[in-house]
Symmetry: C2
Subunit: 240 residues, 2 copies
């Protein structure tokens, strides 16, 4: 057995594995994350590894990996030898998530408004149509998913899917806020109005108008946050 044979690299490892079966750790992560974002687990709740192990029926390793990932997402705080806790909603983090989203999406829309295709405009218009229907049917969950789709399509069409990923990693903090106060009917009405304005600006291929529409769409969020943090202070943390 020649040593050199063992050190040579594989010719072509699977860099782009199409389908990836989820590991146990991934499933635990997904579920815990969902629970935290939806406030089923609330800020400052302890996350006892032992209980999670019993709940998920796994060993400590996948649970621990999930918690470590959540820590990197700023969704849990881990204090060695002490405990793991659901992180409070850090206001500076939410504000910066919003700032980053605003910055990225205005840049995206400026690029997009000069190169978007007719088919893509039609697809965005179709999403807004379906949002109107979801609003009529009072299906807020569907409405939310369509909202996600609308914005992610902006990044995809502009050719910046990875920028979207980076923005979304921060956006999780904002998502948690959406569950502090479930969006009401008036809110959905405003969203539809704003989305329509964005689609129209893109249709006209007008970068200035499009940017203004995006800014308008995202403008009100910080004030909203301010109000929420006053009415539910136990969920928030101002310094970080």
């Amino acid at each position: 057995m020649k040593a050199t044979k063992w050190t040579k690299k594989p010719l072509e490892p699977n860099w782009f594995r199409a389908e990836e079966e989820k590991s146990v750790a991934d499933k635990v992560y997904d579920q815990l994350r969902r629970q935290i974002v939806t406030l089923q687990r609330r800020p400052r709740d302890p996350l006892r590894e032992k209980l999670l192990v019993d709940e998920f029926g796994t060993s400590r390793t996948p649970v621990r990996e999930a918690c470590l990932r959540l820590q990197r997402d700023d969704l849990v705080c881990i204090t060695p030898k002490s405990g793991t806790f659901v992180a409070p909603i850090w206001i500076p983090l939410v504000l910066d998530a919003h700032f980053l989203r605003m910055a990225a999406e205005t840049a995206v829309i400026k690029e997009l408004s000069v190169k978007i295709s007719d088919e893509q405009v039609a697809e965005l218009a179709d999403i807004v149509e379906r949002q109107i229907e979801a609003r009529k049917a009072n299906e807020l969950a569907v409405f939310g998913r369509l909202d996600e789709l609308f914005h992610s399509n902006l990044y995809e069409f502009a050719g910046h899917p990875h920028a979207r990923r980076a923005v979304e990693r921060q956006k999780v903090h904002w998502d948690r806020i959406r569950y502090v106060a479930i969006p009401d009917m008036q809110h959905t009405s405003e969203v539809i109005h704003d989305h329509n304005a964005i689609v129209e600006a893109l249709q006209k291929r007008d970068p200035v108008l499009a940017e203004r529409a995006v800014v308008e769409h995202l403008r009100t969020l910080p004030d909203y946050l301010e109000g929420l943090s006053r009415s539910r202070p136990e969920l928030f943390e101002t310094k970080m």
Copy 2:
């Protein structure tokens, strides 16, 4: 022993632990990351857990944790039951890292140019001064650190440190490119010129001029990447 006692939350866990001693896993992560970014470990090199364990003198667990974090950073590819490899430099990822940085930094500079203090302008000017000295002394490492400091100060002064974090997490892919071709003297000269333009615009509190200066500073990078990927194709990967 009352059950209720065991479920109550700690009054005030250490959310803001000032000093955090680094775990073994953190050290392994830092070192591996540095090796990958500086191309001491090159794209497509296998990362054998056993060898790393011997090298770092730890058990598998911290090494594995480090690799998982690197995977989330898109710096390594893990194929279950097969192997772990240093990821190629994905061009779409680098371009989007650049796009995000451009978007964030133009937004930062626009905010900053209306609220920056005289002391902060002076601090930025001082950094540029020190860059000029580093250039004269031919200290490229110092120059690079000052460059980092200049840009990170923009985020700090604008009050968006967490947005900076998100941008920097992507920027690691660009950093790897800096080691494909070490920046030369001409490059440092351009950087100093651009930084001076930014400081001057901030001094005048002129948002339009400031934004233009930032765009100008970051404008040339994609073309540079194009050239590099042609001359060193073995390090890169165009599709993702």
